[in-house]
Symmetry: C2
Subunit: 346 residues, 2 copies
């Protein structure tokens, strides 16, 4: 299949720092290429991929330009100029990518990477039948506008070798994420303390909102039983995840997909997570972790994580949340969309 993968123009593929969408695109470009597809990746200059790389912009935009629609527009028109060279165009950019793709006559797939907001819903409703859409979880799909033309649900995948399996665990619990009301590290502290266990946190505070959340809700309840790191490097993250007795994931909003849960389980580390968004799909309750709805339930679940089998966790991630599973999922989505296009043309 001749596939165009359209990354957002802001960061290299893979990204040097943060960048969830960029990692998905990186693994997909490599994985589809390895399976023999003819893949062209449209991405920021400096990207590194097994696909054929085309970089429409001369240079990676400066950080103050991120989100500037003039850059996205320049990136996107350069892609669609050559659109008829492909069997399918798989778009990860927004909102210029969504618009141009929807109005072109080419077969386009758009992955819904973000949560739905008033602005994004307004546009997605208008182009509901003009893309083939992929949701990144059943939960996200259930919150979408009713008329979207679906090509499927494909979970974000991870590179298994970056998250080595580890049978033996230390005694600490682990939290990783932004410090804010949605990721709720204060609930992780409360639950760990109630269970009488040590907590290690990699928590980031990148803006004023996160810093004031931290000062008001986390700082006052820190103690000897909590060790705090800031943002951790990839190796450190895999090591801390692998040695943890469990990952605590007290998510307080309907996040479309929580990647860190899959990273933990890949290492054989169980996940105790709040019932919200994709959580019940990602964590097999009572098998790869526990799905809870209160700090008390989280504390009680922590007492039971030793009962679970780490091997089961890794094999479930391999099967459902690995890069390979994601690549297979997108192959199916492409085939579904192209069959739909053929049916419509008949």
């Amino acid at each position: 299949m001749r596939i165009a993968l359209i990354a957002p123009p802001w960061y290299t593929i893979p990204p040097s720092g943060y960048g969830g969408i960029e990692w998905v695109v990186a693994l997909l470009a490599d994985g589809l290429s390895e399976r023999g597809h003819e893949v062209t990746l449209f991405a920021a200059p400096g990207s590194d991929t097994r696909a054929r790389l085309v970089s429409p912009l001369d240079e990676e935009p400066l950080s103050e330009a991120i989100g500037d629609p003039w850059y996205e527009a320049s990136h996107i028109v350069s892609v669609y100029e050559h659109g008829d060279q492909f069997d399918i165009l798989h778009d990860h950019a927004r909102p210029v990518g969504v618009s141009v793709g929807a109005l072109s006559n080419l077969p386009t797939i758009h992955t819904l990477h973000g949560p739905f907001t008033q602005q994004t819903l307004m546009l997605y409703r208008r182009v509901a039948r003009q893309h083939w859409f992929v949701a990144i979880s059943e939960s996200q799909r259930s919150m979408a506008p009713p008329d979207l033309r679906w090509a499927g649900v494909v979970y974000n995948g991870i590179l298994m070798e970056s998250y080595p399996f580890r049978q033996e665990k230390d005694d600490y619990l682990f939290f990783l994420g932004r410090a804010d009301e949605e990721k709720a590290p204060h609930l992780a502290i409360q639950a760990a303390r109630r269970a009488g266990r040590r907590l290690v946190m990699c928590a980031t505070t990148k803006n004023e909102r996160e810093r004031s959340y931290w000062a008001a809700n986390v700082e006052p309840i820190l103690g000897d039983d909590v060790t705090v790191f800031g943002e951790c490097a990839p190796d450190q993250k895999a090591d801390l995840l692998g040695r943890a007795a469990a990952l605590l994931f007290p998510i307080q909003w309907a996040e479309p997909f929580g990647l860190v849960m899959t990273e933990a389980m890949a290492c054989g580390t169980p996940v105790v997570a709040w019932r919200n968004g994709s959580v019940p799909e990602v964590v097999a309750d009572g098998e790869t972790g526990f799905v809870v709805e209160s700090v008390d339930e989280m504390a009680a679940a922590i007492d039971r994580v030793g009962e679970l089998d780490p091997h089961l966790m890794r094999s479930r991630v391999e099967e459902r949340f690995s890069a390979e599973a994601m690549v297979s999922g997108y192959e199916r989505a492409y085939e579904f969309a192209l069959a739909g296009e053929r049916a419509a043309a008949d």
Copy 2:
């Protein structure tokens, strides 16, 4: 001709307050409709026009949403969905409008309303042959990328009846505009003072940059010979313009078009303006005003404005810078573009 006029989605047509592009679109929609064209105006809800109005957005975006590409995208996809109902689409939106229009197969004209920046040049270069472009002055066209496919130069027009002619003048000079280094009210004060004349100013300071410019460069040189108003209402503006002995326009950048010069001349008020951007095209030097290059030259020109014939000013505006002239200019541009499309199709 079946014409789609695509306004930006941010303000009603005509605008209730500031909005240069919106006034151009308003006069064009009314003028083309009066000449018998079948005009559909895509614009914010609440717009008032003689054309058929279609408002893709449910409501006028809040001020904090202005520029948000999700809104522009929703507006634009709703236009191009019905694009084949028109002989030509005339686009005033950017950058989503530029991108979608450039990649559609429909005949599109794009008016270049703004100055060229690194970001806008990047996109215009890529779509150089995919729109028919209209510049709003020869000066603007001379600064454009070399390969743009032109449909012509059309000056912005004004409604003559909003600027009544007035033969008798008071003795004051007039300045109207933003208070910043580019509009340079401090140079107007210096020139008026050197000529020994009173100056009346309608100067606006809407942001921090303009307020600090004012405090540093204008406030210290104010005196009894300068009367300062803030933003003036349309009626007050026409009255102050009409009674002034001359408009001072010491513009310090290559502004694509300076509308206030045409408003002054419509009232029969001569313009003393700095040689920059569209100035030498708009002011007929020695006939409808003077084109100068220094404060000394401006002061010397002020002494001579009484020699000029106010009737000539008004008739020149009628001929070149009125709404009627603009409507005729766009009719020619549409015909030129459609002839080009037909030639390319043969």
